[in-house]
């Protein structure tokens, strides 16, 4: 990757954040060229997200070849006083996933936004869209806990807005967005309280510093029975669980994903909760891990929530009549797999979690894109709308089907690789009942996916006379890139598995 300008190379960690930030702030001015920005707003967004994707790729390459973390100090202040961005093999990987999905979702958004958003608001839509991407990438790149909170607020507020933009089609999007706003704000407040207690305890906001101080205190015997550290951990876990929609705290998610505009569902479903999971990794392993607690038993509660989530959300998914809602409930289940993986706190379990961040992002992103294409051509996303689309929109229907196989965990799809690692991880710890839950989740996924596949391929359309054509290329290409990736990394998982294993080793470096 020598072609990348040498001048910008050291600035890569900050470039992935400020590119979409500048892009978002300049996007409103496309309205000066044409009312609502129109095609120019989209072109500008596509250009910026492409540049971000290039930066993320080079960053990932640099981290893997350099072998150690890249640190960037904002304003040249030392990390203890200022904000330090730290990129290691875990967040380089997550940044790459988010940037990839952001770029493809932007390409996809062109036709779906024209269809779903009022014409004179496109420039504002893309402004908020890019600010959301800036927030999500910022959370992933930063090494400062308070900075995480600030960027979390940026990404959350913009995502609420994006979901509310679905209100022009279906007014229920407004209620869904408000519900998400209330619950999301409570979650963010809890995270802030947790960070506050940590600051009180350690006197620093930098993650690496916090960890060092906590280990020091543990060795001095000050942490045993320390209420502050317990309370901070509890606040952080509840707040983070809300943000990543872990089972009992997932109630905001189904409606938010269902009524959001199609392109927003594709972006948010495959990035927002993944970034929540990434934050949990950082807090659980980077700050509290590696010699702060004597055992990982506190994580057993997460395993319990995750197991319940896999089963309950899959049963809910079976009963839904809106396809986007089926996918949303399935997302709750898939997040539960990720949480189950890292709550085992062993190498294979954490590898399964990290690998599933990528695998679920490509599978669910591709499937939400497919159902968005159906919404464009059929005007809705209920089970009646997908009946018989196998004959009318064969490429879209095929993409949906392959993605569905990935959700079930059919061999030769990416979903199989994640589940393989997860089952191995549970068996290593001797938790055969957790392995059983994982397999049960697969069976339930088979039921809700098969129900949809049957309607797509074997049912007659509700209105056979309607003229329906295949989705436009601008939707098919990103959709098939994601679905293709899910198959490619199911057959040849060496790249994802190696990256995930490296990240897992890093997280578990000090033991639990």
């Amino acid at each position: 990757m020598d072609w990348f300008p040498e001048f910008f190379r050291p600035h890569l960690p900050v470039l992935v954040v400020i590119l979409p930030l500048f892009g978002g702030l300049l996007a409103p001015f496309t309205a000066l060229i044409r009312r609502g920005g129109g095609i120019f707003a989209w072109l500008w967004t596509a250009l910026i997200t492409a540049a971000v994707f290039v930066c993320a790729t080079v960053l990932l390459y640099d981290v893997h070849t350099g072998g150690e973390a890249i640190t960037y100090r904002l304003g040249s202040w030392p990390e203890q006083y200022g904000i330090g961005y730290t990129v290691d093999s875990l967040n380089a990987y997550v940044i790459f996933v988010v940037a990839l999905i952001a770029f493809l979702a932007t390409i996809y958004a062109k036709d779906s936004v024209i269809d779903e958003i009022v014409i004179d608001r496109h420039h504002l839509f893309y402004t908020v869209w890019m600010l959301a991407i800036a927030g999500l990438l910022g959370i992933t790149v930063t090494g400062d806990t308070f900075n995480i909170y600030v960027l979390l607020e940026i990404s959350s507020l913009t995502v609420y807005t994006l979901i509310a933009m679905g209100g022009e089609r279906d007014r229920r999007a407004l209620v869904a967005s408000l519900k998400y706003l209330v619950l999301g704000s409570i979650g963010a407040t809890f995270i802030l309280l947790g960070i506050g207690y940590l600051l009180m305890l350690t006197g620093t906001l930098n993650m690496a510093d916090m960890h060092a101080k906590l280990v020091e205190m543990h060795q001095a015997g000050e942490l045993a029975g320390n209420k502050t550290v317990m309370v901070s951990f509890a606040f952080l876990m509840v707040g983070l669980s809300l943000k990543m929609a872990l089972f009992p705290l997932h109630l905001w998610l189904p409606n938010a994903y269902t009524y959001a505009p199609s392109s927003v569902s594709a972006l948010v479903a495959s990035t927002a909760t993944k970034v929540g999971v990434y934050m949990t990794f950082r807090f659980v392993f980077t700050i509290y891990g590696g010699g702060v607690f004597d055992s990982g038993e506190d994580l057993h509660f997460l395993a319990l929530c995750a197991s319940a989530g896999i089963v309950v959300s899959s049963f809910s998914a079976i009963r839904q009549v809106n396809v986007k809602r089926v996918l949303a409930y399935s997302s709750v289940g898939q997040i539960a797999y990720i949480v189950l993986g890292f709550s085992l706190a062993n190498q294979d379990g954490v590898t399964a979690s990290v690998i599933h961040i990528f695998n679920h992002a490509v599978i669910k992103g591709g499937m939400f894109m497919a159902i968005g294409a159906v919404a464009l051509r059929m005007g809705g996303t209920s089970v009646d709308d997908i009946k018989g689309i196998g004959k009318r929109m064969p490429l879209t229907a095929a993409a949906f089907t392959v993605g569905g196989c990935g959700l079930i965990g059919v061999p030769l799809t990416a979903g199989f690789v994640s589940k393989w690692y997860l089952v191995v991880g549970t068996m290593q710890e001797g938790y055969w009942y957790l392995a059983f839950v994982v397999l049960l989740g697969g069976v339930l996924a088979l039921i809700y996916v098969w129900r949809l596949i049957e309607m797509i391929w074997f049912h007659e359309p509700v209105d056979p006379d309607k003229e329906v054509e295949e989705a436009p290329l601008s939707m098919l290409i990103p959709m098939w890139i994601l679905i293709g990736a899910s198959v490619f990394f199911g057959v040849n998982a060496s790249w994802t598995a190696d990256s995930a294993a490296a990240a897992a080793r890093l997280l578990l470096a000090g033991g639990m």
């Binding site: 400020i18 300049l26 409103p28 304003g75 040249s76």
Partner: protein
């Protein structure tokens, strides 16, 4: 016992001359917006017109002296916006929108944040890291620090002010929801 009982309707005790001219209105007609009533009160109008310039100057003062005294971009921006909002309260938000069109406010929101980000970008392009004020110009480091801080505060002030005004205009728009229904959404 007093014989001056108020009449049944409980009409306010005020001389007929100061009441708004009683033009017979058709049934179901909208009562005049409270803001337009306020602009008919001489006292409010005069006091607002006298106070607004001072509020605005004070807002600018707080922004400009943010790096030295108490205050700064955020506080100054809010004070500045308070001046505009007072104008909107007294003369009606339609009048406010005529004075500063939403297009300009929208641009100011982005421009303020852009100013902030550009300070960071300039220091990056001059060979430092993002937001490294010390090397903003060729002058002394301390002078650059002050310059960088001030520019950032001006950006914050501009954005906060225009966001505040936008929030006021949005929540004072009484027919927004009706319009959505009229469009059949």
């Amino acid at each position: 016992m007093s014989t001056k009982q108020p009449d049944k309707a409980g009409a306010p005790l005020q001389p007929a001359a100061t009441r708004p001219a009683s033009i017979p209105q058709p049934r179901g007609a909208q009562p005049p917006a409270p803001a337009s009533q306020m602009s008919q009160q001489t006292l409010l109008r005069v006091v607002a017109k006298m106070a607004i310039p001072f509020i605005l100057v004070f807002g600018v003062y707080v922004i400009l002296h943010g790096e030295l005294g108490p205050g700064g971009g955020f506080q100054g921006g809010v004070i500045l916006a308070a001046g505009f909002i007072l104008y909107g309260l007294v003369f009606g938000s339609d009048e406010l929108r005529k004075r500063i069109p939403p297009k300009i406010i929208d641009s100011c929101m982005a421009l303020g944040a852009l100013l902030y980000a550009c300070v960071g970008l300039v220091s990056m392009l001059r060979g430092g890291t993002f937001l490294d004020y010390g090397i903003l110009t060729n002058g002394t480091a301390s002078g650059n620090e002050a310059l960088g801080m001030s520019l950032v505060e001006y950006g914050v002030g501009l954005t906060v002010c225009s966001v505040m005004i936008t929030i006021y205009i949005q929540i004072s728009e009484r027919r927004a929801t009706v319009r959505l229904e009229e469009r059949g959404l």
